[in-house]
Symmetry: C2
Subunit: 604 residues, 2 copies
């Protein structure tokens, strides 16, 4: 999982690559590197471990070129060292390659073709670039032909960008499963894993499909399949509001993005509701949903937690049975499906590889799919039959906040629309506009209590090594997400639990002052969850109660505003997000860029 | 969650209570106490924090009586102190009460009736005994009448046993939701939470149903409902092989129980298969299963993990869609059910309160239920339409081992029987007798490698504060269970993960030498799981590979014998159990009786 960029036809190639890599840092930041060539006999390869800023510091003024490729890495094979950083170069010094993905048969290829070749890294990518060089030399092939021959052997996922030092007048790119977009300029062309990386220089993009090779020159873009047949494809325009991208006076993007959530709730109402408060969905999407006998929500990580909240929404408002599954499990061990399933893919980036492999399989089976994503131009959005946007604006912090609440908001809107189409009484009674407004108010009330939440974070988590979050019903789902937030950015070993399950084993971990956060917003089980809190307290644990206004008792440390229990995670998670934020902040971590993580997970 | 005992008509009442409490220690051991009365003017109340042995040490020779009650506690309300230990006594010194369960309206009752009464503990139980005394005094009621009046006000769960010091010629007991059995003797009678506690003195037992009051004298047993109407009920005989109960030369029961698993596999084949190798189930059970359109497996903790393994068994062998749900969540937030659901309750003890509340609700809805349990006389077995036994023999260690593998074995047998009834080709090909034999062989091979597993446990977990277990498919399910074992007895904060999910956030917790155990027994995803292991290693994590023979690679630390991937948890979990055992053992913990836990969880 990594980000790649490439450019040809710009005298400021180094700066274009660097700007692009900075935008791609969400895809990983274990190491970074660039190769540039001035097409006049000078070229430079620079790689550094760690963030883009380390690479930037190493780029002295003479490092200029008019063609180049760049890479930011999230380590899958081999440690994050300089040797393992991209671009990789063939032993003859001729070919430079960057790669996003995992070549699964690299060891086999190495044993078959490269036993005489000395390798300098432990990456699958170096195997590929050495193969290209081998075929070019051995068979007298040019760069494109050598690349094509190599691609026919390679298994797995990749987005490649290749430069031939002997003929630096073209950039060769290819993809399979990993994302890649071509950007069309005036007298130059670019390539990147994400449009975001190149929005500074163009807004015209061309899609690349699996198993295609594209040759970019200053002026031309040529797309071919692996058999060598040329393919015509038009460019499309990407619009993005550049103002959304600054973090302004916030110390970290995450805090800004937490604060934006009430605005996102209002924006969803504005985008999806008509003047009468009816949810407006494309008619063909609504038809497809109506024909389904069961919904399957496919997701991973935080999106999976948002999906869990969707199940009771769809079942109770629309009366349609709903299952929520992990993409990485579902794709390889598909359970028995209903007769007319419909798939809903939840992914903030729309690039999650674990979900995409499911989409490929469900499409092959002929089942309809809807993607709900924050990036309308993403792979999952393009490849599904239907796509709905989250309208959360760019989310830069690696730990997702506003995209999670937006996902729940869109699920509620779709469930309401479907329930209305089915004339379900529960849907009629569920005033989604009012609920989104209540959510925004409840979120804002917590955002306005930042100092109190900072104090609670200090009190509960300042030095702890572990923590638990418990609740029942939707409070259970939000417990999972609150625990993940704390894990991701503060490295506290936190676990979310169905409150009733804790005593079935895990309560053995409760010691004096072990922090336990109890969410209590569900009237049916509030007393049971409180009893589970008492079991923890009886063993020395320290319980922080976060209760709905109507269920609150004296001594509850945090009370949230009223909202339908089906949607309480929209509000309670803001407390979880802020507790995690302040814990990470107080420990001195880089809140926006936690170790080991990447924002968009584009490997399985 | 606690255990209670009571006796009347035995001169050695103290010893009878003590023996019974020792057998009930699996239900909790935060504190223990007895009250005995010699019916001749002498009585004694002794309570101690901690294990039964602390209480035993405090019982000097003069503490004798012919009627008495005893209690071992798992703290739900209030810390495990002597003040909170049972029996509780009314302020006038007249009534002594032991209680298993949770009175949910204790605070309300206290505010309504007891504002003038000083309480000496923070338990719900003391509220009840003070209420009994209040009504006896205020309304001039005898013990039974005061108890009845109190029970009409009490909400929640309880098994009570009460002695009136002024008239110590009877023992009064009552139950609601919590388990309780009357034992019938010759010239004496006893009462206990579990037949096990009284098998030393009788094998004749009488069931008590919810909201009944029973009066025991030396010679008589009188059952009444809350309205005072007498009820006739016959005794039944409980047979248990006393030889199963010794731990012999093993340092801990857990190790003995791990070692017994191959025998249990063979015993299941012997009990459930006929001479031709066909699974024999009661005809009416098979009919009920055949009529269902969807199975719901309801469980908690380790049983839930066994249930997860059941889903692909039932779906692939019998072609029936199956859902696995947590009792504590399902009972209060029931999802949309299919038209003809059938419920399968998995519970080692058959007393799990979280599952029982679901059974009460599904019975009320008219749906059929099968209980699979190790205790054929348990509440869940008695109350379900059908019951199947695990035949694992008594499991004494709190951490379940052989009951878990037996649960999976019985699921496989039932799935095979149902698939055969449906003429499913997959069921025909699945030779369950052969697979159980392979499981026994694979288990035995690991049991024979104890020293190697001890070394691996030292190498991986000697000083770690956290750990991860990863896998895909059934390897994911066994990861959850292996993590729970390590948590329960060694207090390491372990988590089981779907291998593909780790990178969606939790990988942030990987540091140098963080232990990660990877289960690799599924051919479809073996390479993916290995790739996830490499992602962990790239960040400094230390990976222990446990691989199936056919999928093993050089360097894998542990290789298991061949078995169908559907049943691989039967073997792989033995590695997980032994890793957990040796980690706990090396840290010097009481392996069989981990802190904070009870074997049977009889509160919600």
């Amino acid at each position: 999982m990594c980000g790649i960029v490439g450019v040809i036809g710009r005298d400021d190639a180094t700066q274009v690559l660097l700007n692009g890599l900075e935008k791609l840092e969400y895809r990983g930041y274990d190491s970074a590197g660039v190769y540039v060539n001035d097409q006049n006999g000078h070229d430079y390869l620079v790689k550094r471990v760690g963030r883009i800023k380390n690479l930037e510091a190493a780029l002295t003024p003479e490092i200029q070129g008019s063609i180049g490729i760049g890479h930011t890495r999230w380590a899958t094979n081999g440690a994050p060292t300089e040797a393992n950083a991209h671009p990789h170069v063939s032993n003859d010094g001729r070919f430079y390659l960057v790669h996003n993905g995992v070549v699964t048969n690299a060891q086999t290829l190495r044993q078959e073709y490269l036993t005489d070749v000395e390798l300098h890294s432990s990456t699958d990518t170096e195997v590929v670039v050495q193969l290209i060089a081998l075929f070019a030399q051995q068979d007298g092939l040019d760069a494109k032909a050598a690349l094509r021959k190599t691609l026919k052997l390679v298994e797995g996922s990749y987005a490649f960008s290749l430069v031939d030092r002997n003929q630096p007048d073209a950039l060769y790119v290819a993809k399979n499963k990993s994302p890649l977009l071509i950007g069309k300029g005036d007298g130059f062309n670019v390539v990147a894993s994400d449009a975001l990386a190149m929005l500074d220089v163009t807004n015209q993009f061309i899609e690349v499909k699996d198993e295609e090779i594209v040759t970019l020159t200053k002026t031309d873009i040529t797309i071919e399949n692996l058999a060598g047949t040329q393919i015509q494809r038009n460019a499309f325009t990407v619009k993005m509001d550049a103002a959304d991208l600054g973090k302004g006076t916030y110390p970290f993007y995450m805090l800004k993005e937490v604060d934006e959530q009430p605005v996102v709730m209002h924006r969803l109402a504005e985008k999806y509701l008509d003047a009468k408060g009816n949810v407006v969905l494309p008619a063909d999407l609504l038809d497809a949903l109506k024909q389904a006998d069961r919904l399957y929500i496919v997701a991973a990580g935080t999106s999976y937690h948002a999906g869990l909240v969707g199940k009771p929404l769809f079942e109770q408002l629309a009366g349609i049975p709903t299952e929520v599954v992990l993409g990485s499990e579902f794709g390889y061990h598909m359970p028995m499906l209903s007769k007319k399933p419909m798939f809903i893919f939840l992914s903030q980036s729309g690039e999650t590889a674990d979900s995409r492999q499911v989409l490929v399989k469900t499409k092959a089976l002929g089942y309809p799919a809807l993607t709900i994503t924050n990036v309308g131009t993403s792979t999952l959005a393009r490849e599904a039959d239907f796509a709905l946007e989250l309208y959360a604006g760019p989310e830069i912090a690696v730990a997702s906040t506003k995209a999670y609440t937006a996902q729940i908001g869109v699920e509620a809107l779709v469930a309401k629309a479907l329930g209305t189409a089915f004339n379900q009484p529960a849907a009629k009674q569920f005033d989604v506009a009012h609920q989104l407004a209540l959510a925004a108010d409840g979120q804002q009330a917590l955002i306005d209590q930042k100092e109190h939440l900072h104090d609670l974070a200090k009190d509960m988590f300042a030095t702890t090594r572990n923590a638990f979050f418990i609740g029942r019903g939707t409070d259970y789902f939000v417990s999972l997400e609150a625990a993940l937030k704390l894990k991701e950015i503060s490295y506290v070993q936190a676990e979310g639990f169905a409150a009733g399950e804790l005593k079935h084993g895990t309560i053995a971990l409760i010691e004096d002052n072990t922090p336990v956060v109890a969410f209590i917003t569900d009237p049916v089980t509030a007393e049971h969850t409180r009893a589970n809190g008492q079991e923890v307290q009886a063993r020395g644990g320290k319980v922080l109660h976060i209760a709905a206004h109507d269920l609150a008792k004296d001594g509850d440390e945090l009370v949230i505003g009223d909202i339908d229990p089906l949607l309480s995670p929209l509000v309670t998670i803001v407390a979880g997000q802020l507790l995690a934020y302040y814990t990470s902040y107080d420990r001195g971590y880089d809140v926006d860029k936690p170790r080991n993580l990447a924002k968009s997970v584009t490997v399985e």
